[in-house]
């Protein structure tokens, strides 16, 4: 499709010539140093006299480095690239810039490395704004208590250990227990919400990261997600940097947007990009990378050879999650760090550190996983320190999730007696029956997030004992068919979604449709379930 442009070629040449003439031909002045020693992803540099701690330095062959250790006669730099072409005697120049990454809308839908460079082959990322990678977390006054839910779409989480916007909830468990799957499903569930997502992959297999990207793509989640990847083949300094880069990108969403030139707040733009959820997968490998870098830099090793500030490594990262006060724009950054344990041991160094930092944990167990309970969440050890404040009223209602924890706890107590079958007294038998069906109802498949109103009605059914007469094994099928039944009767799901609670009287047009008049929503729900159960074939 050839078009004739109005500008003539010689006009273009003259415009370019003018631009060249206007070009400022002054000299660059920069501070420089010489490489004394290089290897293992680090370099010691002589000179660089005025370099700041945490400043970026430029090495030959386009390798960037970070001034990590400022020592008496040399600067220890960690390299964000291959050290193979860097030689002793090479010149290193200061960039006069503390480490920062590009941030903004341009990053949505992209896969980048921790320096913000795209690695998905979709072209340059064009953005004016940059955020410092290391930044102080917001203070007490700048925050408000967590009060809005972050729906994960998983019944086990949203009912038992609900997550709120601005909270830090740890996902912890052995390998291959479904931790990443939980994080990915949470991201997928944010599709029709105002929450953006950042998935930080630290030390993962590149194939796993590709798989996550594909899953997100297939579920339409990539358009509001950024993936920051420092795979296992990347140098340890990049893996060390990755979570902080992810946090810096997330902070762009959380903080009030400002006009780049005047610095004036821009509330309109802020409304659109207020909330973000950052997944750090996983911080165990992050701690390993930091240990590697610190030992190479000759920092003294402490427990398990980790440097003494490995707690601070994670605490300063996770403190950047916050629910901001109304004065600061009411934005939020929710953090979902992941930790991998060995043999279910929660009492080792790094897990205990991160458990004490976060506002709760979701504990995955291998035994539960292989026993068919998936998500393999140990409801007894999992907790959310925000709890009901992060749930809609309908969910935290005492007839829905309100009794769920207690019923499950009672069930666990008597579960050992299940093998005695009919030799039990009636109340123990009841607890067992109820508990079994509750355990069944919180099972859920991958990539199938459930809207919160549907979660409310299914858990309500199980918690009210409507499934006690059915064999436990058909609960899954019951749920599927019941949801189909309810979706075909419009009104009740919409009502729960709109009202957010079950206790308001249902006043309007539901009457003629369902034939229930103006009864309480809860009563209507109960009757609906009974109606369905009459036709359900076990």
């Amino acid at each position: 499709m050839a078009t004739t442009f109005d500008v003539r070629p010689d006009e273009i040449s003259s415009i370019l010539k003018q631009q060249l003439l206007r070009f400022d031909r002054g000299a660059d002045v920069y501070d420089a140093g010489t490489v004394l020693q290089v290897g293992d992803g680090i370099a010691r540099v002589h000179g660089l006299t005025n370099v700041m701690a945490g400043e970026l330095a430029e090495f030959p062959h386009e390798v960037m480095g970070l001034a990590f250790n400022l020592e008496e006669d040399n600067v220890g730099c960690i390299l964000f690239g291959e050290d193979t072409e860097i030689k002793e005697g090479d010149t290193v120049r200061r960039t006069n810039q503390i480490l920062q990454v590009p941030v903004g809308e341009a990053l949505l839908g992209r896969v980048v490395n921790p320096l913000g460079h795209p690695i998905d082959g979709k072209g340059e990322i064009h953005t004016d704004e940059h955020n410092l990678v290391e930044r102080k977390a917001p203070g007490v006054i700048a925050r408000q208590p967590v009060n809005q839910p972050l729906q994960t779409g998983l019944k086990a989480i949203d009912a038992l250990t609900p997550i709120g916007r601005g909270q830090r909830e740890l996902i912890i468990g052995d390998r291959q227990t479904g931790k990443t799957a939980l994080a990915v499903d949470t991201i997928i569930n944010q599709r029709d919400t105002d929450v953006y997502c950042i998935y930080v992959a630290i030390g993962q297999k590149a194939s796993t990261v590709a798989q996550v990207a594909k899953t997100l793509e297939n579920n339409g989640a990539m358009e509001y997600t950024t993936i920051v990847s420092a795979a296992a083949s990347e140098p340890a300094p990049l893996q060390y940097l990755a979570p902080y880069a992810g946090a810096a990108m997330g902070e762009w969403f959380r903080d009030m947007k400002r006009d780049p030139k005047s610095g004036e707040p821009d509330p309109e733009r802020h409304e659109k990009f207020k909330h973000v959820c950052v997944v750090y997968d996983d911080l165990t490998k992050h701690a390993w990378a930091y240990r590697q870098v610190a030992l190479l830099m000759r920092r003294p090793p402490g427990r398990e050879a980790y440097p003494g500030d490995v707690f601070y490594l994670h605490s300063r990262l996770l403190e950047r999650a916050a629910m901001m006060s109304d004065d600061e724009g009411s934005g939020s950054l929710t953090a979902l760090p992941i930790i991998e344990t060995q043999e279910g041991d929660l009492s080792t160094y790094i897990p205990t550190n991160v458990i004490s930092i976060t506002d709760g944990q979701i504990f995955f167990e291998t035994d539960l996983f292989y026993g068919g309970q998936r998500p393999a969440i140990n409801a007894g050890l999992s907790v959310s320190r925000v709890g009901g404040k992060a749930q809609i009223k309908a969910m935290s209602d005492r007839d829905v999730a309100g009794t769920l924890r207690v019923d499950l706890a009672r069930f666990r107590e008597v579960a050992a007696f299940a093998q005695f079958g009919s030799d039990l007294d009636a109340s123990t038998q009841r607890q067992l029956t109820r508990g079994e069906r509750l355990m069944e109802i919180i099972k859920q498949g991958v990539e199938s997030p459930m809207p919160v109103e549907e979660q409310v009605i299914t858990i309500f059914a199980a918690a009210q004992g409507k499934l006690d007469d059915l064999p436990a094994t058909v609960v899954g099928r019951w749920e599927e068919e019941f949801l189909g039944f309810v979706r075909s009767r419009p009104g009740i799901l919409d009502k729960i979604r709109e009202e957010g609670r079950l206790t308001r009287p249902c006043l309007e047009a539901l009457g003629p449709v369902t034939g229930y008049g103006d009864q309480l929503l809860k009563t209507q729900l109960s009757d609906l379930i009974d109606e369905f159960n009459r036709t359900f074939k076990a």
Binding site: L20, R25, D28, L36, T49, N74
Partner: protein, 181 residues
């Protein structure tokens, strides 16, 4: 190596202090430069200095026989000291450190100018004067040729680089022109 740097500085400082006490700082520079050129021109000497299998006594003999009167007593004594402390392998770093310490004391700073084609003497002395005005020190200019810079020149002095090469300007033009609007 970082270790050698500290070692080198200590020995060099000791030598300079000794020379000051015996009032021999004048000849020190030529003596040190002499050792530098010796190490460069005689691979044998360099090899002997780095060889750990030759006993200290043997090395001391070599030094006294080979140099005898041709080096100043203070320098010979210094070399024998290095040998007896088993630091002769750091000799090159030590004399380099000695020379740079002397430069520091005398306010001399080395500047390396890299240019595409050789600079004329007039240009060199103009540059030296400019640099001396800027830094307030005496500048010793060394010249280097690098064709890849296409034109212009760059001066490295102390920890700073003044880059007025055409290559750097072309890079900046490219960055400016390809920056998205």
């Amino acid at each position: 190596m970082a270790v050698n740097n500290q070692v080198a500085r200590r020995y060099a400082d000791a030598l300079i202090t000794a020379a000051k006490e015996s009032d021999q700082t004048g000849i020190l520079r030529s003596q040190l430069s002499g050792v530098v050129s010796l190490l460069k021109e005689s691979p044998e000497f360099s090899r002997i200095a780095h060889d750990p299998t030759i006993p200290a006594g043997g090395k001391a003999e070599i030094v006294s026989e080979a140099f005898g009167e041709s080096i100043a007593p203070i320098m010979r004594g210094f070399l024998e000291l290095l040998i007896s402390h088993h630091r002769e392998s750091a000799m090159a770093e030590i004399v380099d450190a000695g020379l740079s310490r002397l430069d520091e004391k005398e306010g001399i700073v080395t500047a390396v100018v890299t240019s595409h084609i050789a600079l004329t003497d007039v240009q060199k002395s103009a540059l030296t004067t400019q640099l001396e005005t800027r830094t307030g020190k005496t500048v010793r200019l060394e010249a280097d040729i690098d064709e890849s810079i296409t034109g212009g020149f760059s001066v490295r002095i102390g920890g700073a680089i003044y880059d007025a090469t055409v290559a750097a300007q072309l890079r900046r033009i490219r960055e400016q022109m390809t920056r998205p609007l």
